[in-house]
Amino acid sequence: MTKPKIMGPLTLRDPPEAVTRIVTLGRVLLVSALLGGLLLLVMAFSVLVGSAHVNPRRSIEMMLRMLVGLPSGGTETEEAILFSIRFPRVLLAGVVGAGLSVSGAAFQALLRNPLADPYILGVSSGAAVGAISAILMGLGALSLATPLIASLGALLTILAVFYFGRQDGRIHPHTLLLAGVIIGSFLSALIMFFISISPKEELRTIIFWLMGDLSIANYRAIGVIFPYVVLGFVSLYFHARPLNLILSGEEHAVQLGVDVERLKRICYFSASLITAASVSVCGLIGFVGLIIPHSVRLLLGPDHRLLLPASGLLGASFLVASDTVARTLLAPVELPVGVITAAFGGPFFIYLLKARKVVRTI
């Protein structure tokens, strides 16, 4: 290195060509538009397939007619299949997939741990204890009772982990992680206890809930989750840039002017609430919240201003597609969607890791 030339106004003779590839608003909008388009395609396709056969051309006709406010022109059965079963299910899968991916990305930054996922701090186990209690009390038949009690369990867990995960009023990522994992294991023990005393009829419901189940989809369930996912996303997105800084360590973030404790609290509660809402309605759908943020990072880089919306949209597409496979692969038997997310997500993720050199191009 020669002595730096720092006298006088600096003229750049050779501005490097590649310096333009930073995250700009334009790039965020472009990527969001592309991934949004993909999501629409996946959702449209997903509505057209299913175990009950409805002629695809006829389905499209019906949907287009509904869109412009005409009667659909289909039979009652066709209408029921399309608009009361498949539509809400696709929407629910989209909202949950988006929520889990955004929350996973936030937890990975908050805990500074690439293995973090939405369930790592025990929120899911809290929800599971709630849901299983509801099922065992025979409340499973009431439409929103299970999700309500599950969300109560999740909320109590969030508060408990927050309470035990702090020292001197500060969140220490490692303490928080320990508190979450330990409270989670304690709750898992409760879950196993409940399972061991469950009567046979309830057992299947419980197991399906634990494996993640989108089949309870209806518009009311979507209405319950949607506000949490949107609110959580918005509050995380408002801290997207500070979240970048915390990746290089808390001291660095402080040096660059971030109120780190406030950031961690907001991030913890936003991500936890998204998880709680998703899990309470759909059970434990694994893998989405772990692999989608990583895949997006490998493709687009770690900047949260791009990562959060891209993860949300890609996660939505991924879960809609996985659920479509889960309900059609062995139709009329329905597979737990968690089986599909793991079976397809895992190998894809490994492929991305191997292909790392060629990515980050958009």
Binding site: L12, P114, Y237
Partner: protein, 260 residues
């Protein structure tokens, strides 16, 4: 510029910094030296308010540091600390642009002006050619210069350096300090550097602060502070102090036991 008034700090029981007062003038290059545990790093952390003193006050340009917001502080001073691993690798340009954070709102994207500033400071620190590389592909010396570029992008008046040369080979050590020195001389950037390397501190600093057990043992020009008596008293080992034959500044030579 910076004024510490009987500052004391402790983590738990024992006072790490005891009743410490001193001033840093604008444009000075100050070295903080002292044995392990003498409070060098703690003092730096107090200066950028990662921690707050239990007693005493610190003033920056007459304003109480405790009353300033985080981003106000980050606009006044930048820190180049020992490195930490980035969890997920950013590009060099992205890391340098992080230095613009104190000037941006929460969501804001960097403007053309921010990009200009980033390119300018990257040219000063000669990392512009790596702008598009991932930070974890660079060597230790290159990464250090990227961190200085990030600090300079904050357009600070004061730069705090914590053991800046610890992980560098001698070539990069002298390059690094030459760069800091020219920023100090030509841009009137005030420098406060904590270092174990007293020979480098002696070469570059206007004044040296020798700490012992959280107190100031002595403070003054390198000639006044780096003496055989004070070094042997503070560090408790035998040294030889003479003059650097080129610069005439004090030079320390360590002596092994039988050589005494």
């Amino acid at each position: 510029m910076m004024d510490l008034q009987s500052v004391s700090f402790r983590y738990r029981e024992d006072w790490v910094i005891r009743d410490l007062s001193f001033r840093v003038e604008r444009g000075e290059f100050i070295g903080i030296v002292g044995p392990n545990g003498s409070g060098k790093s703690t003092l730096l952390k107090l200066l950028y308010r990662l921690i707050a003193p239990q007693r005493g006050k610190i003033f920056i340009d007459g304003i109480d540091l405790g009353a300033m917001s985080r981003s106000e502080i980050a606009r006044k001073m930048a820190v180049v600390a020992q490195e930490t691993q980035l969890l997920f690798p950013f590009r060099v340009i992205e890391v340098v642009l992080m230095g613009r954070s104190p000037y941006l709102g929460h969501l804001m994207f960097e403007s053309q002006k921010d990009l200009e500033i980033a390119k300018k400071v990257m040219a000063w620190t000669e990392v512009l050619p790596f702008a598009d590389r991932l930070i974890d592909e660079l060597s230790g010396g290159e990464r250090k210069r990227v961190l200085i570029a990030r600090a300079l992008a904050q357009e600070p008046e004061i730069m705090l350096l914590d053991e800046p040369t610890a992980s560098l080979d001698i070539h990069h050590q002298i390059d690094f300090l030459d760069l800091i020195h020219s920023l100090n001389r030509e841009r009137r950037l005030t420098i406060v550097m904590a270092s174990h390397d007293m020979n480098l501190a002696s070469e570059f600093c206007d004044r040296i602060l020798l700490l012992q057990g959280g107190r100031i043992h002595s403070v003054g020009s390198p000639q006044e502070v780096i003496t055989k008596e004070s070094i042997e008293e503070v560090y408790g080992c035998k040294v030889w102090v003479d003059e650097n034959p080129v610069s005439g500044m004090p030079r320390i030579t360590l002596l092994k036991k039988e050589g005494r």
